[in-house]
């Protein structure tokens, strides 16, 4: 189907966009970034925004820059821009690896990192990445700027604490610990489909024991998150298939899985365990000295 009628606004600056949002957000105006989620929703008549504020003409929003302890990702950085390492070393390699799991090539050329965080699909790879590595969302409106930590960002499936008149101008993605290594696993039925379950895991080795353990799950629950119980079971242990399996099994009792007609909750519960185990196994292969995504 075709999208319902709307008025397209094409601001040239962030201030102009904030002004348009201040004037029109109450009536339902939406930001148009890559359009790879919003336009299908309009075509399916799931969204009827009377106004679209197209940010694609705003110069400077496409920046991806390492800055202190984080990577600053502007609102027009596309999924595609991460396909080759954006920063040297394991961090860039991890983001490149994950970007290839998102949709398909011609969707990645348009879709944006920040749009994924704004859209907050439970299966979004970038939302899982932000939740697991840590991130801050920088919001701009006429009232000023505020930064929201990822722990406070998601309110539910496709819902965030962003106010309608706020533009997400940048995501600050935390840089993983020096020496840490990472693994990612996602399951879907066809290449490029949304994940049914995914996990991102990382740790660094200190005297043969795992430290700074991060284990996050996506597409399993309404909101991606780290699993503290699983991380605690791994912290200080030597890595290995047994330790990974034992810890991953804790996830089965810790998650409240989404359910749909094709995927019962128990299926996702099992998948969470498998995804975590496989992400950890990939992280083990990537430890320094091994080939892969190690610092």
């Amino acid at each position: 189907m075709k999208a319902p009628p709307f008025t397209l606004h094409r601001p040239a600056t962030v201030d102009e966009a904030a002004g348009l949002l201040a004037a029109l957000a109450d009536e339902g105006a939406l930001v148009l970034a890559g359009g790879q989620s919003l336009v299908p929703m309009m075509a399916l008549r799931l969204a009827y925004p009377p106004d679209l504020i197209d940010i694609n003409g705003i110069a400077g929003l496409d920046r991806i820059e390492l800055s202190g302890d984080h990577l600053a990702i502007g609102a027009l950085a596309r999924h595609h821009d991460f396909r080759r390492s954006v920063v040297p070393g394991p961090f860039g390699a991890l983001l490149a690896r994950i970007s290839h799991e998102i949709a398909h090539y011609p969707i990645r050329t348009r879709g944006t990192f920040c749009g994924s965080l704004a859209h907050a699909d439970p299966a979004s790879e970038w939302c899982l990445t932000a939740a697991t590595l840590g991130a801050e969302m920088v919001l701009r409106s006429q009232a000023g700027e505020r930064a929201v930590p990822v722990a406070d960002w998601f309110e539910g499936a496709m819902a965030t604490v962003r106010e309608p008149e706020e533009l997400l101008v940048e995501v600050r993605l935390s840089r993983p610990a020096e020496g840490s290594a990472w693994g990612f696993y996602e399951f879907n039925r066809r290449a490029g489909d949304f994940a049914i379950g995914a996990a991102l895991a990382g740790y660094r080795l200190e005297g043969g024991a795992m430290r700074d353990v991060h284990v996050g799950i996506g597409a399993i629950e309404e909101v991606p998150r780290r699993l503290g119980e699983v991380e605690a079971a791994l912290e200080g242990q030597p890595p290995g298939p047994e330790a990974f399996r034992t810890a991953a099994r804790i996830a089965a009792g810790a998650v409240e899985p989404l359910e749909d007609f094709a995927t019962p909750a128990d299926y996702r519960r099992d998948l969470a365990v498998t995804a975590i185990e496989r992400a950890l196994a990939e992280a083990a292969l990537a430890q320094p000295g091994q080939r892969g995504m190690a610092a």
Binding site: F6, R10, P40
Partner: protein, 160 residues
């Protein structure tokens, strides 16, 4: 047709288009520029038959509004051949029998040309992943992969 009037630059030619904001680039190419080589299937980003190249990158023309492409360089399947001489990928599609009904063909051609011009160092595995972007209900994809590799030979994947 009501709406704003703007220019679209397609295959080196400028077209004055008057269209409402909600008109997609795909529809404008077909209805306002008369370039019916670009096909529309699902109109929700899934099938890829609408793929065109905008400023060097392959995109779904059903997920972009026509006015958003104002000022951009757009390439469609009509711009591939040079006069009577087919683009090497078009010739490879014929040689490898990479089309049957042909509905998906313009999208695959623009997808492959766009992705390989953008990432000429792509490996064979990455090319296979790119081909999974679009749907073909006739060929089973093997012939399309064969044609793509014939037109854009990939170096053998280095041994691990």
């Amino acid at each position: 047709m009501s709406g704003q009037t703007f220019q679209l630059h397609v295959n080196g030619t400028s077209y004055a288009v008057t269209a409402p904001d909600r008109k997609t680039l795909g529809d404008a190419l077909r209805e306002d520029c008369g370039l019916t080589g670009t096909h529309l299937g699902c109109e929700q980003g899934v099938c890829g038959t609408c793929t065109v190249i905008v400023d060097g990158r392959p995109v779904r023309s059903c997920l972009m509004f026509a006015r958003q492409a104002e000022g951009a360089q757009i390439r469609t399947v009509e711009g591939l051949a040079q006069g009577e001489r087919l683009h090497p990928l078009q010739q490879a599609f014929i040689d490898a029998h990479a089309l049957q009904c042909g509905f998906c063909t313009p999208g695959f051609l623009m997808l492959i040309v766009g992705a390989l011009e953008q990432d000429p160092d792509m490996t064979e595995d990455e090319l296979a992943e790119v081909l999974s972007s679009n749907l073909c209900r006739c060929t089973g994809y093997a012939a399309i992969a064969k044609a793509a590799l014939a037109a854009y030979p990939r170096p053998a994947t280095p041994a691990e």
